[in-house]
């Protein structure tokens, strides 16, 4: 009698443990930050800012953040208290993992974003202001103090950096980076993989092509064709001579 009672209790607890293991794995749902540079610190801080109101104490959306980098030299090092645990490939190829790309290079982000098989998280800082009509692509990050105004559409794997503002009706392609403090007026179009440098301003309705680089502090008042680098006030393309 005793024995059989104990046996059945053991069986039950084993069942319960299995379920609990599965549950824990799924409910923790780790967020893998791909890249361990300075930019990754801000991605981590942004992910950590997001709390869910679930009654009682708010619950972190991502209680388990992990960091990966292909540079084996930094494996085992700590970034924001998180140990860099290994390379990217094993995460990126598995649809069960959820990742965010903390890589500054727009071309690299775009390439990984389109080839990876994992899911991507969209990470929007708790203290940014994103209007409810804004559509934001998967894998994009929006940092503290950024403001995105009504009816703007932002692509996948973009970076809307600290304190940047993107006004109404803008359209940003995939893997665009709006650097800290840059300001886009209303109705601006920015092509895929383009970079708007820190503190740059873009006048209303301007179209910036794909793979463009706008220098720090530039004032863009004319359309910028794809593939060009433009600097200054007003922004002009860097000539090949200047680039030598």
């Amino acid at each position: 009698m005793l024995t059989s009672g104990r046996l059945s209790r053991v069986d039950l607890s084993r069942g319960a443990r299995d379920t609990a293991a599965v549950s824990a794995q799924r409910s923790l749902n780790p967020l893998y930050v791909i890249g361990a540079g300075g930019h990754a610190k801000v991605v981590i801080a942004t992910a950590q800012s997001i709390m869910l109101p679930l009654g009682g104490e708010p619950v972190a959306l991502w209680p388990d953040i992990r960091v990966r980098d292909d540079n084996t030299a930094i494996h085992g090092r700590s970034i924001m208290g998180i140990t860099v645990e290994g390379d990217n490939a094993s995460i990126l190829r598995d649809p069960h993992f959820c990742a965010v790309l903390a890589i500054g290079n727009n071309g690299v982000r775009a390439r990984i974003g389109t080839t990876a098989k994992c899911r991507f998280a969209t990470v929007i800082h708790h203290q940014s202001i994103v209007h409810s009509t804004v559509r934001i692509g998967t894998g994009t990050v929006v940092f503290a103090g950024a403001i995105v105004q009504p009816d703007t559409v932002i692509g996948a794997h973009c970076i809307i950096n600290t304190g940047a503002s993107v006004d109404h009706d803008c359209v940003l392609g995939d893997a665009v980076h709006i650097a800290p403090g840059a300001r886009l007026a209303g109705g601006v179009t920015v092509g895929a993989r383009s970079f708007i440098g820190i503190g740059a301003v873009v006048a209303p309705g301007i179209t910036i092509g794909d793979d463009v680089i706008i220098g720090a502090g530039a004032a863009v008042v004319r359309d910028i064709p794809s593939g060009t680098t433009a600097v200054g006030v007003p922004a002009r393309p860097l000539t090949p001579r200047e680039r030598l």
């Binding site: 379920t19 599965v22 549950s23 799924r26 409910s27 749902n29 997001i50 869910l52 109101p53 679930l54 009654g55 619950v59 959306l61 649809p95 069960h96 959820c98 899911r119 991507f120 998280a121 969209t122 929007i124 708790h126 409810s132 009509t133 934001i136 998967t138």
Partner: protein
């Protein structure tokens, strides 16, 4: 062969067993369906597929022994008058009283379908609950002892009945995929139909704690806190069931804007078409019809790693599985789908494929009839 099919709630005969009844008629059998409450629409619908209907005195809840004895007598009388050769029933009272009546009436072939264990099999929450559970189990043991064939809708229910000793050894057991779903009736609704309203989630069912309605409301509040444009629809109704939420609680969710209450729907398809994701955070199901219907219409699913629910999808392919009673996990799953339209599209397509391959109602009905040798 003369077949008598007994269910508890008249509309369920058409809604849930329609394809099975039609397949019986299609194989040349004469079929009489019985259920409580006379219902003109059901009678007409059944007549259309060539099935006779007789109303009987079944009440779904409640335990009044005198009425139950009357019911057994009534069923026995009716089956004898029909000279029934095959008895088939689903839901607890029709199975138990019907099987006893069928035996007494000399119906030689008797089969039952366990459609979901419900309140009586949930972990007991009170002394009264424990008593109700014990009675329900005793009833099932009695009823199933009279049946040669029992159908289950998922392996967990079968295992549970085995563990509780409710299945006599000589009774044959078969697992079927619920009642399947009519893949033509629940045709694919393009996802674009839904996207104009922003990301939209849908819960379908009675507003019972055991269906996870409170977790759904919590998820709605939390997802909307970080993605304010997201919408959470509820197509369901308050139920006399002891675990139902109250009107006041429902009103609170509506007032704070977490959920949009659609009420009971005569036809669920427009509500499914409006949503991109169907959410069923239930603690236990037989085979959840709302999930199958939404999948058939090409919708991604969020449901629980619970009996009956976990079989409907493969985690990560047609949707996401989360632990039961875990609003945080549910919220994370909701956000993952909110933020990834490509994933939604992929899962919706995979959902439809899975239904067509495995849950087509005609295939499920044929599987049952083959098993019964009809």
């Amino acid at each position: 062969m003369r077949i008598v099919v007994v269910g508890g709630w008249a509309p369920s005969l058409l809604k849930f067993r329609g394809p099975l009844l039609a397949a019986m008629v299609g194989r040349g059998h004469q079929v009489t369906a019985m259920a409580a409450d006379q219902d003109a629409e059901t009678t007409a619908g059944l007549a259309d597929i060539g099935v006779d209907f007789q109303a009987i005195g079944v009440e779904r809840a409640g335990l009044d022994p005198r009425r139950d004895v009357q019911l057994v007598r009534e069923l026995q009388h009716r089956m004898r008058a029909l000279r029934a050769e095959q008895f088939f029933a689903y839901t607890i009272k029709p199975v138990v009283y019907g099987a006893m009546a069928a035996r007494a009436a000399g119906v030689p072939r008797r089969a039952a379908m366990i459609t979901g264990l419900g309140y009586a099999f949930a972990p007991p929450s009170s002394v009264k609950h424990r008593a109700v559970s014990a009675v329900a189990r005793g009833m099932y043991r009695l009823g199933l002892a009279q049946c040669q064939q029992v159908f289950f809708q998922n392996p967990d229910d079968k295992a549970e009945f085995g563990r509780l000793g409710l299945l006599p050894k000589r009774t044959a057991v078969e697992i079927v995929r619920g009642s399947g779903v009519d893949v033509d009736h629940y045709a694919v609704a393009p996802l674009e139909m839904a996207s104009s309203e922003g990301r939209t989630f849908l819960f379908v069912g009675r507003l019972l704690a055991d269906k996870g309605i409170r977790e759904y409301a919590a998820m709605a509040r939390a997802v909307r806190a970080v993605r304010p444009a997201t919408r959470f629809l509820v197509a369901g109704w308050l139920d006399p069931n002891p675990t139902s939420v109250s009107q006041a609680e429902l009103d609170g969710w509506i007032r704070e804007g977490s959920i949009e209450y659609l009420g009971a729907q005569a036809d669920i398809r427009p509500a499914i078409a409006r949503a991109q994701v169907l959410v069923l955070p239930s603690y236990r199901e037989g085979t959840p019809r709302s999930v199958l219907e939404a999948m058939s219409m090409g919708r991604a699913i969020i449901t629980t790693d619970a009996p009956g629910c976990r079989e409907t999808i493969v985690d990560g392919e047609q949707g996401l599985l989360v632990p039961v009673r875990d609003a945080a996990a549910l919220t994370r799953a909701g956000l993952a789908l909110t933020d990834d339209p490509a994933l939604l599209q992929r899962m919706g397509t995979a959902a439809r494929q899975r239904i067509v391959q495995l849950y087509d109602a005609r295939a499920v009905a044929n599987h049952m009839l083959d098993t019964l040798g009809l």
